[in-house]
């Protein structure tokens, strides 16, 4: 049998142990390098930050608050987690909190220095922007896609990339597979479960019917691709990208069938029993299930790269000190950052606003906690999966209330193969060198540099990622 599943009873030893199923031959890439994994988590709407569009911090004496709750509790290099990051204490030694990073593809090139459209499409691409009918689109791929494509060469997996999302209010995807090629994300955990694990049979014997179905699937895909070839001759050159992308996706599906045929043991995640596609789920339940699917897929060697977007939602199931019915979308709540300063119209509600925002943003961190702990608790080689993985967490904004893409949230968790020196806080605000608490801001660090560092961490020798908006090219210094 080419694919097997440990079921309860049949694989009692496996139950309770976070077994790294693909250990047999898949912990190492085709070129002999250790398997590495990238998970990009993206929180829509920014965080509690006093960063203006230029990055200068608001002093908190006027209408805008001056809280830097995304920041660490101590400005030193040894990371002391701040109020939003407290759920990450168990993986603190794996965290690298990077401050003073701008998304310069947005801050330098967008009208007014940024807006929802520009900020979103550049956040993970650092690319130039194409505008049509007032809608923005990226002219380059996002970092997750570039890494996924390359890792798949080194370590072929059935799912080059998993794109998942806790749905709700947001202003567009930050994920791109190529120029003007927006990536859609699956929001239904049960649909993901079925896509990942359908066909894992409980027997250990070859199943001729499965083999026939698999072979038929490949020939069906061949048939559809032939149809695409016929259609391709009819379309204009501006539409070739549509046909070519569709064809490429089908080729990937064909490869998936081959790779799944050789899939070794896999322990399925729990929590999906009895659930149906399209089931209504509260956001926290959905978020946890999506995280568990990423963990299971990585433990099973089904993917090297995953993304998880978290929409800008009101966490209504948690305490809402500002008021359970004050807002319908998270971005409106965030906009009050401009009003809760001591001279702002909402000054009287400042403490409530801060508490509700912290509760909301900390919930997002609990998803990272679940993810990072899940990797950390999975043995791999002499260490654990988090040693060989990287979680890159960011957002399109620092302060969503002023649509600032300066000093954006940038948190790395994991060592990416003992590449990054973690457990640290690094501030790239030049003004903070002399005075760590300064409100002044100046930086040469951009997401371009962070993403270049990610590529180098995964073993590639790129010296630049993205467009020409970065002040300096190359990787971010001091990370390794």
């Amino acid at each position: 049998m080419d694919r097997r599943m440990f079921l309860k009873g049949a694989g009692a030893i496996a139950i309770g142990l976070p077994l790294l199923e693909y250990h047999h031959g898949k912990a190492w890439g085709r070129d002999g390098t250790p398997a590495k994994r990238l998970i990009v988590t993206f929180e829509h709407g920014g965080t509690i930050s006093p960063a203006s569009r230029g990055g200068t911090k608001d002093n908190g004496l006027g209408e805008h608050h001056g809280w830097d709750d995304w920041g660490p509790a101590d400005p030193g290099e040894s990371l002391v987690l701040g109020p939003i990051h407290t759920p990450l204490e168990s993986v603190r030694e794996y965290c690298l909190l990077l401050r003073g990073i701008d998304n310069m593809a947005c801050t330098k090139k967008a009208p007014y220095g940024g807006d929802h459209g520009y900020a979103n499409v550049t956040a993970l691409t650092a690319a130039d922007v194409f505008v049509v009918d007032k809608d923005q689109s990226s002219l380059g791929p996002s970092i997750d896609h570039v890494v996924a494509q390359r890792l798949a060469e080194r370590n072929p997996v059935a799912f080059k990339e998993l794109h998942l999302m806790v749905p709700g209010h947001q202003y567009g995807t930050p994920l791109y597979s190529a120029a003007k090629s927006e990536v859609s994300s699956e929001t239904d955990p049960v649909a993901v479960f079925k896509a990942l694990f359908t066909g894992f049979t409980p027997t250990g014997m070859p199943d001729p019917e499965l083999t026939r179905i698999r072979n038929n699937k490949k020939s069906v895909l061949d048939g559809v691709m032939s149809g695409l070839g016929i259609l391709r001759k009819k379309v204009g050159k501006n539409d070739l990208a549509i046909i070519d992308a569709h064809t490429e996706h089908l080729r990937e599906l064909e490869k998936r069938i081959e790779l799944l045929a050789a899939q070794p043991t896999c322990t399925l995640p729990t929590g999906f029993e009895g659930r149906k596609v399209g089931e209504s789920l509260r956001a926290d339940v959905r978020g946890n299930l999506l995280v568990d699917l990423i963990l299971a897929a990585m433990r099973c060697g089904l993917t090297n790269v995953a993304t998880l977007q978290i929409a800008d939602i009101i966490t209504s199931w948690l305490p809402t000190p500002y008021g359970p019915v004050a807002f319908d979308i998270g971005h409106s709540l965030h906009h009050l950052a401009r009003e809760v300063g001591p001279k702002g119209p909402e000054a009287a509600n400042a403490a409530k606003w801060r508490e509700e925002m912290q509760i909301n943003r900390r919930w997002r961190m609990t998803l990272l906690q679940r993810l990072a702990e899940g990797l950390k608790n999975t043995p791999e080689g002499a260490g654990n999966m988090l040693d060989n993985s990287l979680i890159l967490h960011t957002s399109e904004f620092s302060d969503g209330s002023v649509h600032s893409s300066a000093d954006i949230p940038m948190l790395l968790i994991g060592k990416a193969g003992n590449y990054f020196r973690t457990g640290r806080h690094l501030n790239y605000n030049d003004k903070a060198v002399a005075d760590p608490k300064t409100l002044a801001y100046s930086t040469t660090a951009s997401t371009h540099n962070v993403f270049t560092s990610v590529l180098q961490a995964f073993g590639y020798d790129d010296t630049h990622f993205g467009n020409d908006a970065a002040t300096v090219k190359g990787p971010l210094p001091r990370l390794v």
Binding site: D115, S184, E186, V220, G227, I230, K237, F327
Partner: protein, 527 residues
């Protein structure tokens, strides 16, 4: 923020001289159109198409609508999974002209390709396409039974790009201006069908395409009239007016009827039943208007309301048993803008919002270019301030009086103030905050129906006669039809439809006008 608020009618950008290469025919726009552009069915269109194709009304394949034009991996995966789901239903077997579970024959498979794939692709197959599908079948047949081979062939057809994409080429004709091509009858059939029914053409439409009846715009109009009488067209028009024009399904900037947030302490009448009633009412009203003749005047002045018990309470009328039509107070209600769904969606959780109501009216129903709010806008809902005797209107005026705000709010506010007698759930309030007198006078600035009005009833009567509103409706309809703004080569078509629609009071005339315009009937070569 310097936002131009000049009251320009957006979206149409009409060029009265038409395209440079256009040849004006008596009574029609110069012949010109946009370049052909490949696009694929929406998730809804795919589901409707396969339901009609397989004659399985309750089939529910799951697709996703991407944000962009280039298909995502997720879409490709779901399309494949949808085909597998549909074949597993075995509904395709009834279209095979021989016993599927028998030995079958290659000739039977050929006939199946000729009939089933022709319907799926919405046109006769080319020789190359027939050969392709036959090869799929013959390849499968080498290792599978006849039934399994038919399944495999059907799997290919149900996710074939020839089904999923709409690729138009048009036909060259010497009488046409250079570069312009007449869409074939089959291409026109697909345009009509996906526009009016969100699904594939039916047998009669395909027959009209085959006979050449769709080669003339009169023939297109005849089919469009037939299709408009079908319930599916009513759904399309309802969805266009309710969800898209009024925006009651929600967008990226606001939530819809089902998701709006209301404070139960302020609005104890709110409940899922009330919201279901709100949606049913606005949809029934649009349906009734269309069924009664499509009158714009009726749309903006009717006092007919289909209500359930909680909605009757909001309107202050006797609650029916179940749901029923009632007449609303003519002093309080007139048409779609005075209904609870519109008024509640464009309110805040605790209070009414003249800004949100006014912005939706002037931006989306009148197409006035007022730009988006600056990123630094204060989103705090304007409410009654404790201890102060000021109305929402007075607080809004105070908050938006600064020059940086006033440019746009001088247009938005006077429109939104028309609704001041309706609270945040859409109920009539005679006074505000217990005792404050309400001023609902206003003005529709930047439109053809200038001058002040006294409240939403008078304003709705003005809107019912407004050319600005009708022009905007055409622009929005055009955008729905083509999923984009008009190209410069389509400006004359838009202007022609607007001009003709201005003489009519029938919503359906707008539909018929656009499907007879050069923008709909012709195409330029793909670029």
């Amino acid at each position: 923020m310097g936002v131009a608020c000049v009251g320009h009618i957006g979206g149409s950008d009409p060029d009265p001289n038409g395209g440079a290469e256009g040849t004006r025919e008596p009574g029609s726009a110069p012949l010109d159109a946009a370049p052909a552009r490949l696009h694929h069915l929406t998730a809804r269109q795919y589901v409707n198409t396969v339901r009609d194709l397989l004659d399985v009304k309750d089939a529910s394949p799951v697709l996703v609508d991407d944000e962009g034009d280039v298909p995502s991996m997720l879409l490709a995966e779901k399309l494949t999974a949808a085909a597998e789901y549909l074949v597993a239903l075995k509904a395709h077997k009834k279209f095979v002209p021989c016993p599927v579970d028998g030995a079958g024959s290659d000739e039977c498979a050929k006939q199946y390709i000729d009939t089933f794939a022709t319907r799926a692709f919405r046109r006769p197959l080319t020789d190359e396409e027939t050969s392709w599908l036959l090869t799929v079948y013959l390849t499968a047949k080498k290792t599978n039974t006849f039934a399994q081979s038919i399944d495999e062939l059907t799997l290919v057809i149900l996710q074939a790009p020839q089904l999923f994409y709409i690729a138009e080429e048009g036909l060259a004709e010497s009488s046409l201006p250079g570069g312009l091509r007449r869409l074939s009858g089959y291409e026109r059939a697909s345009r009509l069908s996906y526009l009016l029914w969100d699904s594939m053409p039916d047998a009669e439409l395909m027959s009209a395409a085959k006979s050449g009846a769709l080669d003339t715009k009169e023939g297109v109009a005849a089919q469009a009239k037939r299709m408009l009488s079908d319930d599916r067209a009513r759904v399309t028009l309802r969805r266009f007016v309710v969800d898209e024009w009024l925006g009651l399904a929600g967008t990226r900037t606001h939530v819809g009827i089902e998701d709006m947030v209301k404070d139960p302490a302020v609005f104890p009448v709110d409940s899922p039943t009330l919201r279901a009633g709100m949606r049913a009412e606005i949809e029934h009203l649009v349906d009734k208007v269309v069924a009664d003749g499509g009158s714009i005047k009726q749309l903006f002045t009717s006092t007919d309301a289909y209500v359930n018990a909680p909605l009757a309470k909001v309107y202050g009328v006797t609650a029916p048993s179940g749901s029923a039509w009632v007449k609303l107070d003519t002093a309080q209600r007139a048409g779609i803008l005075t209904r609870a769904s519109f008024l509640a969606v464009y309110s805040n959780p605790t209070v009414k919002s003249p800004i949100r109501r006014g912005a939706q009216l002037v931006k989306h129903l009148l197409c006035l270019e007022i730009g988006d709010p600056p990123p630094t806008v204060n989103p705090t809902p304007v409410t009654h301030e404790p201890g102060k005797s000021q109305t929402i209107r007075q607080n809004v005026e105070a908050k938006t009086s600064e020059p940086v705000c006033a440019g746009c709010h001088n247009i938005v506010n006077p429109a939104g103030f028309a609704f001041e007698h309706y609270d945040g759930i859409g109920a009539w309030e005679q006074v505000e905050a217990g005792s404050l007198p309400i001023d609902w006078t206003g003005e529709l600035r930047g439109t053809d129906v200038k001058g002040t009005f006294n409240g939403a009833i008078e304003m709705s009567q003005k809107l019912a006669e407004s050319r600005t509103l009708k022009d905007c409706l055409v622009s929005r309809w055009f955008r729905k039809v083509f999923a984009r703004s008009p190209a410069p080569t389509e400006a004359a078509s838009v202007l022609e439809v607007q001009t003709n629609f201005a003489k009519s009071d029938d919503l359906k005339e707008m539909v018929l006008g656009l499907v007879q315009s050069p923008a709909f009937l012709y195409v330029r070569g793909a670029e």
